[in-house]
Amino acid sequence: MTALSPGPGQAGPAAPEWWGTDEASVRYGDRLALDHVTFRAVPGRVSAVVGGDGAGRTTLLRCLAGALAASSGQVRLPVPLRIGYLSAGSGTYPDLSVTENLAFRASAYRLPPAIASERSRELLDRTGLAGARDRLAGQLSGGMRQKLGVIASMLHRPDLLVLDEPTTGVDPVSRADLWWLIARAAADGAAVVLATSYLDEAERAADVLALDAGRVLASGTPHEIVAAMPGTLRVSDARPDGEARRRAWRRGGRWRVWDPAPGDGAGGPAGGPAGPAGTAGAALVPDLQDAVTVAILARELSGARAGNGRPGGGDPR
């Protein structure tokens, strides 16, 4: 798919044009959790890492947070004090209050207390947490706790902000606040990386990396990923029969049908689906979700991916 033209070794450590990985792999025992992944996070931009369960998102983000060493390949990161990290599902201390959580994190990042409390006040006010200042983090709703976690990880204005699923399970109102914080961190100059399983959310990012079973499925701007989608898509009211059935999936109450190689005759039967139910539907301009679904489907059809995954999840071998 579209690459951001990696040039290993060409940029010196003094030129932080990007943070990220070059051909990084991570092995857990005999399982390859990350398989030659090249990813760049650019200051002032938001990048989304997408993929389902077992895709390798968390492994990549842990590498970017400096919490996990790659088994092979290069990882280029700021010094630890210039990284902000929110791990999946936690990131706050449940038995500390909101204020205590922020003060603790600020001191860990060696941020002067006066600056820390000024920034905390501003971000808490803006995201509707001001009234919860003295509540224990463990007593906050999921959305409030995630907002607190993101604020805690960006308080020191890091060069690289790494957020693992900040919006999963969060309602749309809190999600809007979270995205305001994310945009604010990028506006302040951070390279922001967030993991998500929601493609409509990823479409809001400037750059997207899609992973499946530890490998790169697609990368680039949402527009580039869509433009690089192989074959064509059409919409059908009914699920097609015959061979095309495996290339169809449900979306928006109708069926998307992917034709891998129109024109060159390399794959799929020419002239549309075989079955009577599969009336040739209207051609469709795909979006990011379509393009990523096609990439997953193509891997599955080629036998590189075992259906919904196999026991243990995400094992590419």
Binding site: G52, S141, V170, S174, D200, R250, T293, N308, R310
Partner: protein
Amino acid sequence: MTQPLAECVGVSRRFGHFVAVDGVDLRLGRGEVVGLLGANGAGKTTLIRMLLGLLATSAGQVLLFGEPPSRRTRQRLGYVPQTLGLYDDLTPAENLAFSEAAFGAHPGRGGGRVTASALPESLRPFSRTVVGSLPLGVQRSAAFAQALAHQPDLLILDEPTSGVDPLARARLWETVAVAAAAGTGVLVTTHYMDEAQECDRLMVMADGRVVAEGTAGQIVGDARVTVVETVEAASWAPAFAALEAAGMPAALVGRTLRVPGAEPAEVRRALGPIEASVTGAPATLEERFFELTLTSSRTRAPA
């Protein structure tokens, strides 16, 4: 319409002085897929708990299959909670067998023991693996299979596809569509607007009330937002700051900004000297949802 599968008439529920659900009407017919949208605290879970018969109403009436919720109506209902409701240390088939034993056999289905052959095709490869070791997408399929095993007339799904890839999500929705085509009514809560588009009809709740109802297109209606595209791509950051300072919070999408609830002319003024194209555009369902929720919280006196 023939008798609805589920019906709420003026249903309210108070907890002390707090009104969690406030005069909700709902009708769900055979084969209908209805999406319930709302922020946390909007009343969705309370409403579902009343439909499940786990919580009494404070006012109004809930009818399932024409009668008040009871153990009997519970047998005709399938439910997939957010937490999936599976035992991690049992296989999918064992989970299924346990749930059938606990439910009792569905009328007309016979009381035979459930075996792996009762599992859908897609779950067969996993029949000997305990649920806790399965990928999340497979766990979700197993939860769906379990909720559908007794061929319920009504299926209630709470955030059914969170955390799975888009193809796995599409396949879970195929399962829902097959059940709906066979006549099962489906009520689904989601925070995910793309998923909401799978529903025949949506209900948006805010502060315990239904604030909008209809198809996604009907709910969005002619709502619009203002879109700002700065000439210098990197200038989105100063534009973001300028709009924030003017009290027009913007949402970042790629490197453009979307400003709800503000006219292009006001946005243009707030941007000052920043060069940008400023245009109106139709709102998305999420943007419209957000507006409905905010309007509700502004117009409602604190309870």
